[in-house]
């Protein structure tokens, strides 16, 4: 039988605000050894001051040391782990359970975040801004549209994550099963696919500028070139191909002037 959910005591507003502001710098000391570990400890730390003995006490130091160990997650989704770990530590949960939770949640928090944010939300916002640019949007409009929409989602995710983590504690896995997190990447990518079809030619047209004499040739070249890059199956990254091709074109353009 599932035990009844325990109501979380409210996290004081001042501590919540400090944790949230620290979440924005959670990757400040990202490295190849403990990855996000120190960032997690840095974010959870304000809540640990509530432990018996206060800041610097034995319970505080043990908990802080535990939270600074190896950890990996998507930076926005790490808010869930921070909330859950803060709750677990202040509730005095057994350290072994906390350690198991830390190990278990790395994978899901990474994969859900990568699919939702990096592979869906960010490209969607980029394509929306490129479409606005293609429709003739001013610099201010294009930037405001991109940053406004992207960060509405970004900040909402961090705020929700921290709250959900604190409310559910180590049982937060259920929050990851929400339909919004599971299904929205697919809907966002479907909308993005339509948007890409509209945005790319419009953006190309605006960058090329007046006179579309070469536009047909460019579109044909894009179709052929895109097909070739796709057939390479990731053996060469697009930006490297672009760098080599453009550098070659620059050298050619200098050589023909002589």
């Amino acid at each position: 039988m599932t035990p009844p959910p325990v109501l979380a005591p409210p996290l004081p507003l001042a501590i919540r605000l400090v944790i949230f502001s620290r979440l924005l710098a959670i990757q400040g000391s990202w490295n190849y050894e403990i990855l996000l570990g120190n960032g997690i400890g840095f974010c959870v730390e304000p809540a640990l001051r509530q432990l018996p003995g206060g800041k610097g006490g034995p319970a505080y130091r043990e908990a802080l040391a535990r939270e600074c160990r190896y950890f990996n997650a998507h930076p926005y989704m790490a808010a869930i782990a921070v909330g859950a770990l803060a709750r677990a530590e202040t509730d005095g949960v057994d350290p072994d359970r906390i350690e198991r939770f830390r190990t278990a949640c790395c994978g899901p928090l990474g994969s859900v975040g990568d699919r939702l944010v990096w592979a869906a939300w960010l490209p969607f916002c980029s394509l929306l801004a490129l479409a606005a640019f293609g429709f003739g949007g001013s610099p201010l409009l294009v930037i405001a549209l991109f940053l406004g929409i992207y960060n509405a989602g970004h900040l909402a995710l961090r705020v929700w994550g921290l709250r959900a983590g604190w409310q559910h504690g180590l049982r937060v896995a259920s929050a990851l099963g929400r339909p919004l997190l599971r299904q929205s990447p697919q809907y966002v990518t479907q909308v993005s696919a339509v948007l890409a079809g509209i945005a790319i030619p419009l953006a190309m047209d605006r960058i090329v500028g007046p006179g579309r004499g070469l536009f047909g040739v460019v579109v044909l070249g894009v179709a052929v070139g895109g097909w070739i890059i796709v057939r390479l199956h990731g053996r060469a990254e697009g930006w490297r191909i672009a760098l080599v091709a453009l550098a070659g074109f620059v050298l050619f353009s200098i050589s023909v002037s002589r």
Partner: protein, 228 residues
Amino acid sequence: MIDILDLIPLMLLGAILGLDVVSFPQAMISRPLVAATLAGAVVGQPMSGLLIGAALELISLETLPIGASRYPEWGSAAVVGGAIFAIHEGAPAGAMAVAVVGALATGWIGGWTMVLLRRLNAVWARRHRQSLESGNYRTVVGLQIFGLTADLMRGAALTAIALVVLSPLSLAVVGLWGTDARIARAAVVGIAATVAVAAVWKLYHLTPGARWLFLGGLVVGMLLLVLT
């Protein structure tokens, strides 16, 4: 050429936007569309910045900043690209191609400096392991501040060096340019859009119906171009 009065704000901009890529606050102010436009605005040409930003944004669509993967550092790179394009008044032939090459090269080196920074952070964390394992507050905060400061300085140095080297070089290359202006711009757009189309395929080809949705969007996009 970029003078010292422009170089200092551009260096600061490159530092802040370089920091945004990973360390703080990851609000995507470092995306090329934003970063290049801001750099153009600093030089007094926001529209030039937006144009180069759009070309770089198309190329950057394929970059997913996932965990420990290596990718170009677009923040400082786009500042360099936006500034270089903006200093060529009237956007002469070749200016866009040179600016994009400069931005991509800076992004490439920037990605490498990010790897070095992560190694440096690891060395620093290893050096303070004992203190970290004893739950020392000052060590935890110190590691964060060290990483953030180092990343800020990395972005500033990268932007300043790239601008000092590439700004006169770009003027020289544009002076020697021998290809027609329309062809030059079409080549840049064509290559950028090629990478974008491949990125869209990579991102969406497993999504149900995405191929048809993309083709539907493409028809609408092309119709809009014909009608306008």
